[in-house]
């Protein structure tokens, strides 16, 4: 009985409801695309404004963007290594920015005020499709990075340091995207649910600390995702001796 009422309450938060777009035979989660377009649009506008007039003495937005660039470069360089980090920096940076903007956008903008016929707007990263898409891109990237840098010698990695490691390394290729996608999905969804439930139960003051915690988690998750992606790529291009 209690379980049922709890689910009804959750249903009031519309968990697992989606705004379906039907294009021919395929079905899409419209709310994910809507929020991602709004957030990425804002990100692109922000970046265009900051890079419009680049000067040798950075001013205003350019300062912030240069700090961001430096931060991403440090992240990529420490994880991937001096040799090939340049090739992968845009990808790692895009992952970081996308996840960060999605998480914070989902947490900071009061999407619930916009009523949809079905489902509700929220962080794009709270949808399993988004996180699996990102994780699979990371998997493809590290395979591509390893193969393009070392050729067939990339597969030495699977029997390094001993052939006993082979089954574990193969298993890792499956657990890496799984853990990447579910970590991000779970954290962001859980944060949205906790905030949602608290707002539903106690609409005043109490949700605020949880919201701050949510902002913290969101930033950390973006950093973790980008760092792990860079680490996997670095692992694939690393030379074994």
């Amino acid at each position: 009985m209690f379980f049922n009422s709890l689910l009804t309450n959750f249903a009031a938060l519309e968990v697992g409801q989606h705004l379906y777009w039907q294009i021919g035979n395929i079905r899409l989660h419209g709310q994910v695309f809507l929020t991602s377009w709004i957030l990425l649009g804002a990100l692109l506008v922000f970046i265009s404004l900051g890079t419009k007039k680049m000067e040798n003495d950075p001013k205003g937005l350019q300062n912030l963007l240069e700090f961001l660039w430096d931060y991403i470069r440090d992240l990529a360089r420490t994880q991937i290594g001096e040799k090939v980090y340049r090739d992968w920096m845009p990808f790692i940076g895009t992952l970081f920015l996308f996840v960060f903007v999605s998480n914070w956008g989902g947490a900071l903008i009061p999407w619930r005020l916009i009523k949809l016929p079905s489902g509700e707007l929220g962080a794009p990263t709270a949808d399993i499709n988004t996180t699996i898409a990102l994780a699979l891109l990371v998997s493809l990237s590290y395979f591509y990075a390893g193969l393009s840098n070392k050729g067939w010698r990339y597969f030495e990695y699977y029997v390094h340091p001993t052939p006993i490691m082979l089954p574990f390394k193969i298993l890792e290729d499956f657990t890496k995207p799984l853990s990447l996608s579910f970590r991000l999905f779970g954290n962001i969804l859980a944060d949205e649910l906790v905030v949602g439930v608290l707002v539903f139960l106690v609409p005043l003051i109490l949700p605020i600390p949880v919201m701050f915690l949510g902002l913290f988690t969101s930033a950390i998750q973006a950093l973790i995702f980008a760092t792990l992606a860079a680490y996997y790529i670095g692992e694939a291009v690393e030379e074994h001796h």
Binding site: G16, L28, M54, M89, T94, F98, N129, I132, A133, L137
Partner: protein, 153 residues
């Protein structure tokens, strides 16, 4: 029905995977290219140009500093050699003046000795001449005395 939906099924649910996945992947790849041309390349160019400028300036300053140090060391050695040269010249001049002094002294000594010797010889010859004269006068006198004595007899 609600529970069924909550844990994911063909229609709706948390784990409803559909064409959103590949489209989102394409969107992220496109975003990577857009951000690369809008953000990573231009900002990277500016930052790296500045880093190069700064590191070039640092290298140049270091080169100049090492040049200054080299010149300083050069000057120091020059100063050192000039000092030893001066020392050498001074000691040389001192030795020479000492030598000249000794020579002059010796010369003067010799001269003095020579004039002393000459004077001595003169005195000696005059003494002997006077003695000769004296003995001759004595002889004359004795002869005179003898002659007178003989004449008186």
């Amino acid at each position: 029905m609600l529970a069924f939906n909550f844990f994911g099924a063909t229609e709706g649910g948390l784990f409803d995977i559909n064409a959103t996945l590949p489209l989102m992947a394409i969107q992220v790849v496109a975003l990577t290219y857009i951000l690369n041309s809008l953000f990573f390349k231009p900002v990277g160019n500016v930052v790296e140009k500045r880093e190069k400028f700064v590191s070039n300036n640092i290298i140049e300053a270091k080169n100049k500093l090492s040049e200054v140090k080299k010149l300083e060391a050069d000057l120091l050695t020059q100063l050192q050699s000039a000092r030893t040269e001066a020392q050498r010249i001074v000691s040389e001049a001192e030795g020479e003046s000492e030598k000249l002094y000794k020579e002059a002294l010796e010369l003067a000594n010799n001269e003095a000795n020579a004039s002393k010797e000459k004077a001595r010889l003169e005195i000696e010859s005059q003494t002997s001449a006077a003695r000769d004269q004296l003995s001759k006068q004595a002889d004359d006198l004795s002869e005179l005395i003898v002659n007178r004595l003989i004449l008186e007899k």
